[in-house]
């Protein structure tokens, strides 16, 4: 367990000392949302209708953008080898994924209500949006860890990562926005949220092992 906390603390320290990474991801998130606002025009009804989808899609892209830093920096400078030699690959994966979620998704969660309100989302949509993001973003990080581990050492890894991961992200996007739509229509939001929770549990059970296998193969 101490290895887990050590890796977690190391990654969080690095993330906050190089604060620009986190800021860049949040700025990307806000700017793409603004692009959508200009793209569809200032009509409040139209914006309110698409707000949840825009927030979810942009959050997903922002997470994707931040993923190539998850392992690749440590892979390039050799730190990843040292970490794996010192402890189990599974522990490294879990700690680094948690650190990625804390350093990337949590700032997005803080920004999300602001962006959603700027896109004229009705007040009844905010709570389901935040809950769905809270349940959905850890799954994005976990799936992302698998993808990031698999493309280590690949040519054009960044583009490839999008091709590999976005199909797997589609179900999370569907149920994330379904939760918000249910909130806006004032019907039960529990079902899509429960499905998102189910995805999270499934990802927790499977993704760390797949990512660890990918890391081991990359470092062989």
């Amino acid at each position: 367990m101490s290895a887990f906390t050590a890796v977690l603390r190391r990654d969080l320290t690095l993330a906050f000392r190089q604060g620009t990474d986190t800021v860049t991801v949040v700025a990307f998130f806000a700017i793409v949302a603004v692009l959508f606002a200009f793209g569809v025009g200032p009509e409040p009804n139209v914006q309110a209708r698409i707000a949840a989808g825009v927030v979810w899609t942009t959050a997903l892209l922002a997470v994707l953008l931040s993923l190539d830093r998850l392992f690749s920096q440590d892979f390039d400078d050799g730190a990843l080898d040292q970490l794996i030699v010192g402890t189990d690959a599974l522990i490294v994966v879990c700690a680094k994924t948690l650190a990625h979620w804390l350093a990337t998704a949590v700032p997005l969660l803080i920004m999300a209500p602001l962006v959603a309100m700027a896109l004229q989302i009705p007040a009844s949509g905010i709570a389901p949006l935040m809950l769905s993001l809270l349940l959905g973003t850890p799954t994005l990080s976990l799936l992302g860890a698998v993808g990031a581990a698999l493309v280590l050492g690949a040519r054009r890894g960044g583009v490839l990562l999008g091709v590999l991961l976005l199909p797997l992200y589609i179900p999370i996007l569907i149920f994330g926005t379904a939760a918000v739509d249910a909130g806006l229509l004032d019907v039960a939001t529990a079902t899509p949220l429960k499905i998102l929770g189910g995805f999270l549990l499934l990802a927790l059970a499977l993704c760390p092992w797949a990512a660890a296998a990918g890391l081991k193969h990359a470092l062989e």
Partner: protein, 245 residues
């Protein structure tokens, strides 16, 4: 099972099977296509558009089956490190991708007159589209590494991760109330008329045998190119200048 991990022994069996599957595929196509497209009865609601089903359904089954072969081969490769299993997985994927695209395309052709729109975002269609993307990602990942062995293992892990989608596609029409028709073949038997079942089964047989033959051809090519690669490496190691590929 491990006996057949030897490529030579495996290819011996594959080469014996292939003429038979090719012959069955040709016979099934020759009988099945005219029956499906001309002599079988039109549907009382759909009219002649029902004939698209005879291509669409076998293509859909094959797309799913080819992915299961890819995922199964990848699992065997990761667990027992039998290279031949990975070669089978790799050979199966592009074939599956083509049939997946064929399934989506014929579905759109059918959807336009029947549903009034070629595409709806329902569970069956979306999960099938995700399957196509998974195939494309799998193929792209295999070619992205300079070190072939590294690409093999990354591909195998991805195939296993993607296999989560297979049950979702299969059960999507039962779990969600979708626009797509429920399955024709169930545990209780066929839910269509025997006059339609016969051409459908013929076409399924034709598609399946065609798939096996194509995969065997791809296996041969893959194993030969591996042999050539090793031979060139040996030649290069011995110091003889080698022309670029």
């Amino acid at each position: 099972m491990h006996k057949y991990a030897n490529p030579t022994r495996f290819m011996k069996i594959a080469n014996t099977v292939m003429p038979w599957t090719t012959a069955i595929a040709v016979i099934c196509f020759v009988i099945g296509l005219p029956v499906a497209l001309y002599t079988s009865p039109p549907d009382y609601q759909q009219g002649d558009t029902v004939r698209i089903m005879y291509i669409h359904v076998p293509a859909a089954w094959l797309a799913l089956m080819a992915y299961m072969v890819t995922a199964g081969g990848s699992a065997v490769f990761l667990i027992w490190r039998h290279t031949i299993a990975h070669v089978i997985a790799r050979a199966s994927a592009p074939v599956g991708a083509v049939f997946c695209a064929l399934c989506l395309f014929t579905g759109m052709l059918w959807g336009k007159p029947m549903w009034g729109t070629p595409w709806v975002w329902d569970a069956r269609l979306t999960s099938m589209l995700i399957l196509l993307f998974l195939y494309l990602g799998y193929i792209a990942l295999g070619d992205a590494f300079d070190d072939q062995e590294r690409g093999d293992k990354a591909q195998a892990v991805l195939a296993l991760v993607g296999s989560v989608n297979v049950p979702i596609i299969h059960f999507s029409v039962e779990w969600w109330n979708t626009l797509h028709q429920p399955s024709i073949v169930t545990m209780q038997g066929l839910t269509i008329n025997a006059q339609m079942a016969l051409p459908l089964l013929l076409m399924v047989g034709a598609f399946q045998c065609f798939y096996i033959s194509v995969v065997v051809i791809r296996l041969r090519a893959e194993l030969l190119s591996a042999k050539i690669r090793v031979a060139r490496q040996n030649l290069a190691a011995s110091g003889v200048p080698v022309a670029a590929e």
